[in-house]
Amino acid sequence: MGYFGTIVALLALLALAWRYLGGYMEAVFAGRVRYLAWAERPVYWALGVDPEAEQPWPRYAAALVVFSGTAILVTYALQRLQGSLPFNPQHLGAVAPALSWGTAVSFVTNTNWQSYAGETTMSYFTQMAALTVQQFVSASVGIAVAVALVRGFSRRGSPTIGNFWADITRCTFYVLLPVAFVAGVVFVAQGAAQTLAGPVAVHNPLDGVAQVIARGPVGFMEPVKELGTNGGGFFNANGAHPFEDPTGLTQFLSCVLVLAIPVALTYTFGRMVGSTRQGLALLAAMAVIFGTWLGFSSYAESQPNPAVAAAHVVAQPAGNMQGKEVRFGPMPTTLYNIASTQTSTGSVSGANDSFNPMGGFGLISGMMLGEVSPGGDGSGLYTVLLFAIVAVFVGGLMIGRTPEYLGKKVQAREVKLAALGVLVMPVTVLVLSAVAVSVHAGRAAIGNGGPHGFTEILYAFVSQANNNGSAFAGLDANNAFYNITGALAMLLGRFGVIVPTLALAGTLASKGTVATSAGTFRTDTPLFVGLLVGVILIVGGLTFFPAVSLGPLAEQLSKGLFR
């Protein structure tokens, strides 16, 4: 199957996911899907909550923060205690405190930034009970927030926005677990490792080399890494490791899983607000950005690597092969990495660091736009909705009405919360990057000189503040400075957006709706899609243009723009 065929098949599967997974999720969050009610009940009983009792936004947000805080503590504790816990065939000791803290925050915030090599740091128990559990529930948290915000749009004069406990439980039970299980069967059937028996030592009699081959319960962990837009791999090599991603089919399936929920949520949104065209408009804006960046990076990576070309050792007929997944070549690797960086997943199938400068720019800039194309599970939808409010506000004035979106008047409070949600990420990235380049600990960690070195630092904070988790490599991030500042970036990038989003949901839900007429700003038209894309590009462009010009842009220009 050629690259083009791959993309057509991907689009076809995503179209099905959009319609059917999206419709299914609408039913799940409306409480109409109950076949696992017997499994839900003990959870609510244990938590002591009534799933039917709706919460106003401050209680919803408080529940979310308490849940996430507890999750961080539990994940931290399990890492620190793994030496005395079961399923530890390698007898790995406690994970270092700074790393445990960074990793706990990273998994709870759906970032999955990994400053460690999983196969030599984490026991099977930690991988399963601490990290994989968070890969499920952190995705559920994101989706719950998105659903709560959409409820804000679809309700009138309602004091509540749903029940947090019911939302995450149902999301985990009805959406993530079933899909991840089915996909896990496929991964294992394709050859992904799935064992608790520990690593094996092999001795190759031909060349006399003895190796230890790491293994683990990888196959059933892998799908949720993608489906939950997490990206936390079992192995250090992440998706480039054949035990994680054994075949071309699983590589392709990974791309589908990564994009499925963010894409499908736009349909869920459309159904909840009563017009799937509204969801289609958001999806179109996401698709325009995704498609542009995919085309851009694909083109950049089809070009030879300038450094290799300068060495005159090999011809590069296939484009830039350096750091690519050698089994699949530059294009599928680029597709995988673009899908993963634009969905806040962050798993990689090739080294981002080795992309051509402008190919690498495609990866980083997708994140700089706020992870909305289509973004992470839930976070993509709620962030794009924040941008939509800003777009509606500016554009709506131009039709001579005080702006409204989906029948809700956009007034001072809405603008304040949306602007806050949109601007937290760039400010976090810029300020923390400035700190990093100003202190010794921050400067010492870079692996390269010139603009590339600056890009390494910038990428680290862009990735973490967007809860993406992909690494540009080159940067030695496993130290106190980067673990602490990184955790700060992840927390701000996650909860600094979630809390204003929930406040917005509460405000919107309590409002009445305005009737639509020919005088209404229609938000389901190509014009609005264009406006939304424009606002996303302008906000991202204006905040990051100077920084980008000191990083990838300066690097690419020093080598001539594409050859």
Binding site: L397, M398, V415, L430, V437, A515, L527, I538, A554
Partner: protein, 697 residues
């Protein structure tokens, strides 16, 4: 003539210029206003005034920083940038002062109207005492006679008088004010022309309509409107985010110098210049001017909005309740046809109808005479026999003429029928059909009889105003529903509604039914505008999102509404909506323009900023600007000059024509969005060429 009624002092020099109401035409760039605005822009430099506008406050602080830097490290560049940054602030002040200027000038005219004369207060025993106007309080009774200025707002409790209200409305024809009913309200500052009235004061001193009007046109206690607040928040947020964007460039560039072993020269002046260019100064500078000018545009149309909030709401209105009479129809029914019955011909009907209407001074009566003349050249005729005119009375419901033995009458069908029967005449059988047919088509039938003989029927029609249909079509295109409100029966209402092209109608309207209609529309999420004048309209005016009270209306109505139309012209409602929309569009368009401008400014400044560290970034200098300093200065100059260039647009409002929302949006995005991207590239380049030409290095 008694001493009390002495004519006012009339030396020609002392009399104020003839007042023409508030809506005096004044050029946008009246020299006097320009002069005042120039002074005002300096006065507004005080930090207390600046802090109200976060965007311009940042510019002012930035100017201070570059000023200090220019003193510490003097150079032509740093002083030039400082000067242009200061000009940016001054230009913003100038825009606001210009917008306020017109209101101030109008307020000054109005102040002259305020009387310094003494009021004649009635004491308990009917005695009169002279007190200053400011001593009058609510409930006092004052006497006003011909030539007196009415001292304060009030209600006529005794007498009838003609009053010249031109000082307020600009309309020179006097109006009648009398006790009781809906014509009892009088406004302080207007002049009694004839007769004597006793007025009960209804306003506390300093809170009269005139006082409110002065403070409104002057914008004395102007408050930010909800949408303006929201926009200010967005602009403040953008300003706040650009602060770190620019500040971090210092460490970023120092680190880049270390990485690349270069020596960049990132100076503070350039950084401040970049910050000022990036924050939305254009809209920040013009925002309050746009708001003031919007209120002013309403004043130009003789409408006073009690708050900016109401102007904004006008842009959002989705349903307009329009009174039929005066708005949709000319107000009077007009004879349009003579329909004969019982074997007579139409000329006979016309002849008799003309006779019966000769003395009828009502507009309907006159229109009968006009029609008869037009159709059959029936003119005035010999009245030698000594005609006796029979006026209309509520009990007979007929009017007519007795000409010797001949008795001609016209009137309501039932009344004429009775009258004919009383004389032993018979009614032709087809009369009922004719009368009913006319009524069904929306007309009013008047039956004409000559003695016991019924001749035929005059058809009186409501005449729909010319061009009103197109206006409704435009409103519909903008998504505004029009509802005609009339006291007519449903049949008549339906016919007129169809002819005028309104979307819906409310027949046999009562204040209660109007109220119900407004509430029903609002429950459906719609914003409603209406106009009214009577006391019984007051609750509906208060309930409507935009309630325009006519100036001729009662005090209760004026207090309930959030706008007052000084012309008392019901068609104004449509103008009000247009002004509201134009105000919002202007805001949105300039915001879009301002933000789109940033792209070009980046391309001008970024290559200049890092030219020493990464010379290759000069590839981004797509405008091929001469040097780093000329690039920065050009961008700053453009940023300042664009404010001045846009002042007329801000004051006049963007060009507006009725269109569906998405058509308007496409046009504005194209003009102000795409235009905002392109224009600065051109002008920054031109400024750079100019700087190079005058020898800038």
């Amino acid at each position: 003539m008694t001493a009390l009624a002495a004519p006012p002092p009339s030396s020609p020099q002392a009399t104020p210029p003839p007042a023409k109401g508030v809506a005096q035409p004044r050029s946008l760039f009246d020299l006097e206003i320009l002069r005042l605005a120039a002074v005002g822009s300096l006065r507004k430099l005080s930090p207390r005034a600046q802090v109200r506008n976060p965007v311009m406050f940042v510019v002012l602080v930035g100017t201070g920083v570059t000023f200090l830097e220019a003193i510490a490290h003097p150079s032509v560049f740093s002083w030039s940038v400082t000067a242009w940054l200061l000009l940016t602030v001054l230009f913003a002040n100038f825009a606001e002062a210009m917008a306020e200027g017109r209101g101030k000038a109008q307020a000054a005219t109005l102040r002259r109207t305020r009387t310094g004369t003494l009021a004649r207060r009635l004491g308990a025993g009917g005695s009169e005492e002279r007190v200053p106007t400011s001593a009058l309080s609510r409930g006092d009774l004052v006497v006003c006679e011909a030539g007196d200025l009415i001292p304060s707002d009030g209600e006529v409790v005794e007498g009838i008088a003609s009053v010249d209200e031109s000082a307020i409305t600009g309309e020179s024809a006097p109006v009648i004010r009398e006790s009781g009913g809906d014509r009892s309200a009088v406004t302080g500052g207007t002049k009694v022309l004839s007769d004597r009235i006793v007025v009960r004061i209804t306003a506390e001193p300093g809170h009269t309509f005139l006082d409110r009007m002065i403070s409104l046109v002057e914008g004395a206690n102007r408050q930010k409107t909800p949408n303006e607040v929201a926009l200010t928040i967005l602009l403040a947020a953008l300003t706040l985010v650009f602060l770190p964007v620019v500040v971090v460039l210092q460490p970023f560039s120092r680190f880049s110098d270390i990485l690349s072993h270069t020596h960049g020269s990132l100076d503070v002046v350039t950084l401040v210049a970049l910050l000022v260019c990036l924050i939305p100064t254009t809209i920040g500078a013009l925002l309050s001017a746009i708001g003031i000018a919007g209120m002013d545009r309403l004043v130009q149309r003789n409408v006073l909005a009690m708050s900016g909030r109401a102007v904004e709401a006008a842009g959002d209105v989705q349903t307009l309740l329009l009174d039929k009479t005066g708005t949709i129809t000319l107000g009077n029914r007009v004879a349009s046809r003579f329909v004969p019955v019982g074997g007579h011909d139409d000329q006979e009907v016309a002849e008799a109808a003309q006779l019966a209407s000769l003395a009828d001074e009502t507009p309907e009566g006159r229109s009968v005479v006009v029609l008869a003349k037009r159709l059959f050249q029936i003119r005035e005729r010999d009245m030698a026999e000594g005609p006796v005119f029979v006026p209309f009375s509520a009990s007979t419901r007929m009017s007519g003429i007795d000409l010797g033995a001949r008795r001609v009458r016209k009137g309501a069908a039932g009344a004429v029928r009775q009258w004919v029967a009383a004389q032993g005449g018979t009614v032709p059988p087809e009369l009922d059909d004719v009368v009913e047919g006319l009524a069904r088509s929306g007309s009013t039938p008047l039956v004409v009889a000559d003695g016991p003989e019924v001749l035929g029927v005059i058809e009186l029609k409501d005449v729909v105003k010319e061009g009103i249909r197109e206006r409704f079509d435009n409103l519909r295109a903008m998504g505004i529903r029009t509802v005609m409100v009339t006291g007519d029966n449903p049949l008549t209402a339906a016919a007129i509604a169809q002819e005028a092209g309104v979307d819906d109608y409310l027949a046999e309207a009562t204040p209660e039914r109007k109220m119900e209609l407004i509430k029903a529309e609002q429950a459906g999420g719609k914003l409603v505008a209406m106009m009214g004048d009577g006391t019984n309209d007051a609750p509906a005016l208060a309930q409507a999102d935009v309630g325009v009270a006519m100036n001729t209306g009662t005090t209760a109505a004026k207090e309930a509404g959030n706008m007052v139309d000084l012309d008392s012209n019901p068609t104004k409602l449509i103008d009000v909506v247009e002004v509201g929309k134009q105000l919002l569009i202007t805001r949105g368009a300039l915001t879009t323009f301002s933000i789109a401008n940033d792209v070009a400014k980046y391309f001008a400044i970024i290559p200049a900023l890092f030219s020493a560290t990464y010379p290759q970034l000069n590839a981004l200098n797509i405008m091929r600007l001469h040097s780093p300093t000329s690039a920065v200065l050009s961008a700053v100059m453009f940023n300042a000059l664009v404010i001045v260039a846009l002042v007329p647009l801000a004051l006049r409002g963007v060009k507006w024509r009725p269109a569906p929302a998405m058509v308007a949006l496409r046009r504005n995005v194209l003009v102000y969005g795409v235009g905002g991207l392109v224009v600065p590239f051109v002008f920054i380049k031109l400024i750079d060429l100019f700087l190079t030409a005058v020898g800038w290095h």
